[in-house]
Subunit: 442 residues, 2 copies
C-alpha cells in the first residue's frame, strides 16, 4: 500500500516548496556570479541543548531522506515561481533539472547528540546543497524535539508501555511525525491512525467521555463497548463516580476486563484505590491506564503506583517545554572554484553575538572510558586519532544522490535505547543539569 | 493552479486518518448498540487561556472546513482499517459511505476568544460528529496558538511589518499552517514558499551567511547579490564586521539599497549605529531589518530603535511559550433516540478533577459597555436576551454538510484586527494578566 496512491498527505510527494524564499534567490545570485558550482559542505548542529537537558536525540533522518529524494521542481511549482517573479528564467531552467546528486552523511537516526555534534553533513555544489536547508532543519528540529521528550518519558516509565496520544494537540501532519519520533524515543504505540498507516506503528485506543454521555447510563455505555469490542477492551471510568464505574465495569465485562482508564483527578490516589477495588473484585489482571496532561515528571511520580500504562499527549508533542531544537545548517567549507576536485577551504561567520561557528568538515567520535561508558563527544576537523577510529559516529546516508541507508523504524528505536544505555547514568536523571558528555574539539 | 494536482501535500486530499483510533471503535460500539444515530451536539472550547494571556485568537477555521469536506474513507484507507482489524465489517461499510452531512457553527476565524467561549459547534448524528474530533482539535489547537503569538507580536510591532521566518523551526507542513495563522494574527509576509503557493501570502527573503561565506570576500558576495537581484535587495551585514559591511553595501548598491539585515549582536545598539551610518552615507531610505530569536518582548524593546521590519521565527511558530491551546471537543447535548427531531438533552461529565464542563447547546455574545468597548463574554444555553441579540458571535459555517462560509484570508486578518481593537485597552498589554474579558454564564 502506498500513501502517495491514496493522495494521503503523509508521504512527501514534492518537498521543493518547503523552502525559504532566500534559498532560491541566493541560488539565482550564485548562478549569476559563477559561484554556484563551488563544492560546499554544510553541517547541521546545535550550539546548545535546551536548558537543563542532558542529551539530545537525533530523529527525523529517515524523513530527511524521503524529503531529499522528493525535492523536485515540477511544472506547477515552476509556474508559481515564475508568476511570482521569485527567480529569473535561467534559475527556473536550472531548477527544472534539479535533483540532489551530492552526498549526505550524519549521525544515524536514534543516536544521542550534544552541543556541536555534527548531526548531518551535506556535500555537493553550493547550489544543490543550499536549497535543502529549510526542509532539513524543519524535519530535524521538530522530530528531534519530540524524540528527546519521548526518551525522557521512556526513562521515567521504565518497563511500562507509553501510548502516544497527542494528535489533537499539534498540527495534523506534525502529529504523524511526532508519533514516529515518539516511537524512536521509546513509546510503544500511538492513537494516531495516520501514523499507523504511514509508519506501521502499533495503534491503540480506549474510549472517550462522549461515548458514556451518549448512552442513557454508564452501564449502558460499558455494555455497548464490551458487546462490540470484547472484554479485553479498556473502559473509561471517570465520567461520573470512579468507584461505581469500576464496580459496573467488572460486573459487565467480567474479571477478564482488559483495562480501565483514569483521565482526571489525583492519579496516584486513584490508581491505588482502583487497583485495590479491581483485586477485591477478582479482576487481578485488569490493567490500569492513566492519562491527563502527563509529562516525564508526572510519570516518574507514579512509579510506585499500580499503573500499567501511560497515555501522553500535549507534553510529548510539544517537546515537554522545548517544542523545537536549535539546529542550524551552516556552510563550513567550500572550494575557491567550481569542479569536484577543487580543494576545500574552511569558512565560518566571524561576527559578534555568539553565533560564530567552527569552520571545516568534521568527524565525530564518542570516547568511552575504561569501563566502556561514554565520557566525551569528540569533534575534530583533521585526521581521526587512531584510538577513536572505532568510535566514530558519522555514517553514510546518501551517496551521489542515492539513498543508501534506509532502515526499519524498529532498528532506529533499538539504536536509541542502546545509545542512551551507553551514556553515564546521570544522563537519565530527570533533574536539570549540564549535558552529560562534554564536547571536546580537536 | 491546484495544489492537489501538484501532489503537493499542503492541501488536504483525505483527512480521514488524522484521527485517533478510539473515534472509530466508539463508532463501532455505537453502531452496534443502536445509539450511533442519536442527534448530538459537540462543542469546542478551552477551560483556560495560557497563563498570563489576555485573549485567544480563533485560527484554523478555514482549514477545518477543508478537512471536513475531505474527510472520506477511500478503498486504501478501508483496506488498512480492515487489515489492522481496527473496526468490524459493518463499520467499514458505514465508513465507505461517510461524508459529514450535519451542521457546523462557530466563531468566525480571526475572532478573539476567552475561557468557555464556544468556538465551534458540530451538530449531527453521534456517529458523523464524533469522527471529526481529532482533526478539528489538531487544526484549531495548532493554528490558534500561533495566531495568538502573532497577534501579540503585531501589537508590539505597531505599524512596522512582521516577516514570518519560522519554517525551519517546526514541522514542514505545520510551517505552512503557521504562516497562515501568523498572517491572520497580523504578520505581513512569510519566507515560506509553500505558504505563498497554498494561501497566496506574500513571500519575502533576504540572504544567509552562507552566501557571503561562499564568495571570496563580503564585497564579492554583495556585488553578486546586487547584480542579480537589484539594488532593492536586502543585504545581510553581520557576517564579519557590521560597520565595514554597511560601508561596502552602500558603496556597491548605491544609496538606493533596499535594506540591510542584522541577525546577531545587540540589536538595539546596532540599529542605532547602522541607521546613523546609513544616513551619513546618504542611504536615508535604506531600511533596517532585524532578526535573531525575536519574541513580542524583544520586538517591544526595539520600539524606539530605528528598525523598519522584524523577522520572527522560533517564537512565532512555537506560540511564544504556548505551542498548543487546550481546546477540547465535548459532547454537550444529545437525543435519547435516533432521528432528526428527537429533543436534545444536555449532558456533561460530572467527575472530580476540574475537567467538568457545562452541558447544553450554547450561544455566545460579547457585551459592549456604553462606549462600545467589550466588557464581557456572555455564554448561555437558553434564549438569547434581546439586548445581546445584535452582539452574537456564532455564525453558520457548514449547513447539511455543505460549507457556506468560505472567505479570503485578508477578510480573516481584518476581522482579527477589528476584534482586537474592540477589546479594552489592557488587552494589548504584553505583561501577564487575567483574561481581559470575564466570561459570564447565563
Amino acid at each position: 500500500m502506498n500513501a502517495a496512491d491514496l493522495r494521503l498527505p503523509v508521504d512527501v510527494p514534492s518537498t521543493a516548496l518547503f523552502t525559504d524564499r532566500y534559498e532560491l534567490t541566493m541560488l539565482q545570485a550564485a548562478l549569476r556570479s559563477g559561484t554556484a558550482d563551488r563544492r560546499s559542505v554544510f553541517e547541521v548542529f546545535t550550539r546548545r541543548l535546551p536548558e537543563g537537558r542532558r542529551y539530545g536525540v537525533v530523529a527525523g533522518t529517515g524523513r530527511v531522506l524521503d524529503a531529499v529524494e522528493n525535492f523536485r521542481f515540477d511544472s506547477g511549482v515552476l509556474d508559481f515561481l515564475a508568476a511570482q517573479r521569485i527567480v529569473d528564467e535561467p534559475t527556473l531552467a536550472w531548477l527544472a533539472d534539479y535533483r540532489f546528486r551530492g552526498d549526505i552523511r550524519g549521525y544515524p537516526e536514534g543516536e544521542v547528540y550534544f552541543p556541536g555534534s555534527p548531526i548531518l553533513r551535506v556535500e555537493g555544489t553550493f547550489a544543490e546543497a543550499v536549497l535543502l536547508e529549510t526542509v532539513i532543519l524543519s524535519i530535524l528540529n521538530h522530530d528531534s524535539a519530540v524524540a528527546a521528550a519521548a526518551s525522557r518519558m521512556a526513562v521515567a516509565a521504565g518497563d511500562r508501555p507509553l501510548i502516544e496520544m497527542g494528535a489533537r494537540r499539534t498540527h495534523e501532519l506534525a502529529a504523524v511525525a511526532a508519533a514516529r519520533a515518539a516511537y524512536v524515543g521509546g513509546f510503544t504505540s500511538t492513537s494516531d491512525l495516520a501514523a499507523g498507516f504511514r509508519y506501521s506503528i502499533p495503534t491503540v485506543g480506549t474510549s472517550a467521555h462522549a461515548f458514556t454521555l451518549l448512552h442513557d447510563s454508564e452501564r449502558d455505555a460499558f455494555t455497548a463497548q464490551v458487546d462490540s469490542l470484547g472484554g479485553g477492551t479498556t473502559l473509561l471510568v471517570d465520567t461520573y463516580d470512579v468507584t461505581e464505574a469500576v464496580r459496573a465495569a467488572v460486573e459487565i465485562a467480567g474479571p477478564e476486563l482488559g483495562a480501565v482508564r483514569i483521565d482526571s483527578g489525583d492519579l496516584l490516589l486513584l490508581a491505588h484505590r482502583v487497583r485495590q477495588q479491581l483485586d477485591d473484585l477478582g479482576a487481578t489482571k485488569t490493567k490500569i491506564v492513566v492519562t491527563s496532561d502527563l509529562d516525564e515528571y508526572a510519570i516518574a511520580s507514579l512509579a510506585a503506583a499500580p499503573v500499567d500504562a501511560y497515555g501522553v499527549g500535549t507534553q510529548l508533542v510539544t517537546g515537554s517545554g522545548h517544542p523545537t531544537c536549535s539546529m542550524v545548517y551552516k556552510l563550513v567549507a567550500r572550494a575557491d572554484e567550481a569542479g569536484p576536485d577543487a580543494p576545500l577551504r574552511p569558512v565560518a561567520k566571524k561576527s559578534m553575538g555568539g553565533k560564530t561557528s567552527i569552520g571545516g568538515r568534521k568527524w565525530a567520535a564518542r570516547r568511552p572510558d575504561a569501563a566502556g561508558v561514554a565520557e566525551a563527544e569528540v569533534v575534530g576537523t583533521g585526521a581521526v586519532p587512531p584510538e577513536l577510529a572505532d568510535h566514530q559516529l558519522i555514517v553514510e546516508l546518501v551517496r551521489g544522490g542515492e539513498v543508501v541507508a534506509r532502515e526499519p523504524l524498529d532498528a532506529v528505536r533499538d539504536r536509541h535505547a542502546a545509545a542512551r544505555a551507553g551514556l553515564p547514568l546521570s544522563a537519565t536523571q530527570l533533574s536539570r543539569g549540564e549535558p552529560v558528555l562534554p564536547t571536546e574539539y580537536l
